[in-house]
């Protein structure tokens, strides 16, 4: 198991910088007053394909050898990684095979198709997703790009925190949500390399708290029947991710569904930014623990903005 280090994030940044947006870091006086903190929001909801996922996917695609690239890439995903991989592949001029559960939201299907991904639908089970993708991979020899348990994907995700710390040094805390751990592991590597005294915290819904429990237990506890509105955070930690997180993440804070919706709406109303529920989880953690965060300078990575406007939680 090859574990990325900060130098791999620097290399990734060099490779992808002309393809990604260097997203803005925004602040809100109103939210600072409400929370009693100073928060710097790194807006990966404004990243290409509407999520940080494009950083990792493009690093994975642009790191392929010519021989690998010629065979194309593939993944199974109903979410942001699928769209990110499809666009990265199109930019590289190669094929992306995307296995999607047949019950994926129409908006996600349209996004992947719009970026030129070749979609194969399957039954909505993890087993069907994996077997369908494996079948395609055997036939076509595509390179499978895992959404988070992948060296190059983690190195790519780490570039967001690097940009944040270069724009805003001297942060007390950097926070991001945790699902499979791709963003969190990349973020932790960047923060601990660039600003060792800065704490790295993850925030996770109480209804999908497998990362919290895994960190406490010291081994990966899979996510079984998770239940949360934060649809990007349902997955279990990956192995590479867990190794990095165990060593570099200071703590994981769990939050209620109610706080997630409240934080999401606060960012929409106060900052005029569309964020998806997963993105709101770190702010929700601050709202639930105001005293602990009081007067801290906090960087938050807003992970994505892909929501179905027909189906808002408020």
């Amino acid at each position: 198991m090859k574990i990325p280090v900060f130098e791999d994030i620097i290399d990734a940044h060099q490779l992808i910088k002309d393809f990604i947006h260097c997203t803005p870091v925004l602040t809100s006086t109103a939210i600072n007053r409400i929370t009693g903190t100073e928060i710097f929001f790194k807006c990966e909801n404004l990243q290409k394909t509407g999520a940080f996922k494009f950083r990792g996917a493009s690093n994975a695609v642009f790191s392929l050898t010519d021989e690998q690239a010629a065979r194309g890439v593939g993944t199974h995903s109903s979410g942001n990684h699928a769209a990110a991989l499809a666009l990265a592949a199109r930019m590289k001029g190669i094929q992306a095979q995307i296995v999607m559960p047949s019950n994926s939201p129409e908006i996600k299907k349209k996004a992947v198709a719009g970026y030129g991904g070749i979609i194969t639908y399957c039954e909505p089970t993890l087993q069907a997703r994996e077997s369908t993708l494996l079948k395609i991979a055997e036939e076509t020899c595509i390179e499978i790009i895992h959404p988070y348990n992948n060296f190059n994907v983690i190195a790519g995700q780490g570039t967001a925190a690097r940009e944040l710390l270069e724009a805003i040094p001297h942060l007390d805390i950097v926070m991001c949500p945790v699902g499979g751990g791709g963003l969190l592991s990349g973020t932790a590597l960047s923060v601990k390399a660039l600003s060792p005294s800065t704490k790295v915290l993850a925030a996770e819904p109480s209804g999908a708290d497998d990362a919290y429990r895994s960190l406490k237990a010291g081994y990966i506890i899979p996510s079984i029947h998770p239940k949360t509105i934060a649809d990007g955070l349902l997955t279990s930690l990956g192995e590479i991710n867990f190794v990095i997180i165990s060593k570099n993440v200071d703590d994981i804070v769990t939050v209620s569904e109610e706080s997630i919706v409240k934080a999401m709406r606060m960012v929409w109303e106060r900052m005029k930014l569309i964020i998806e529920p997963s993105s709101a989880v770190p702010l929700a953690a601050i709202l639930e623990n105001k005293e602990a965060f009081s007067n801290q300078r906090i960087g938050i990575i807003l992970s994505g903005g892909n929501v179905d406007l027909e189906n808002l939680p408020f």
Copy 2:
């Protein structure tokens, strides 16, 4: 009638720069592909109080003499200017008297009150708004800050286009919406000073096309019974605004309600930015006239993001 020039915009910028956000300029590959243009969006929806109005209001407030400031400021408004003036006054440490029609949306009332404005409600007619404000002004000697027909307000609004052109030079066109003409007149002054060959275009809803008809006629035609979803663009042109617009604006393009909603939704979905209907009017003009705008480099000022999330047009 004192007409501002570009030097007044430079002075305004110097005065307000520590109080405003220098808002980001964002692009969308998807929207560029759909329109066949290259668009640079200046995100004044991310400005303090959620609209460009804060630039003009803060310039007006910070330009007051100590004697004027001691007496406070006031305006009548149901919209973004009210919130902007209330916040600017609070930053200066002075009182803001805001006359609001009793039927103003709750969200606007809360915003003004949240920024510390002293609200007086009146009947929802222009006459009641003006007479109520005049009565307060007579009693308290406050300085009345008109939302657009005001020298310092126009100079403040011009700072947005100046930032846009400094970030992105060599634009073929700069566009913004037109209501009373505060943003348009300030924008036109900045653009014609910094980049004389760049065209300045305004976009206006067909159902509130008084500025279009005024520019053609050569005199101000008042807005009577305007009907549009773009609630920021219902007002008639001011006199100072009309003088500047007549001399510096190349053309005004009118658009349908359907295109406004389509453009608004496109920015929400593709850019993850919350914009109000008024902000969508320039993009709507491009969508309706793709051939005329083909291959142009266009700067658009997204004027604001204050919408009622309970009452979306989609």
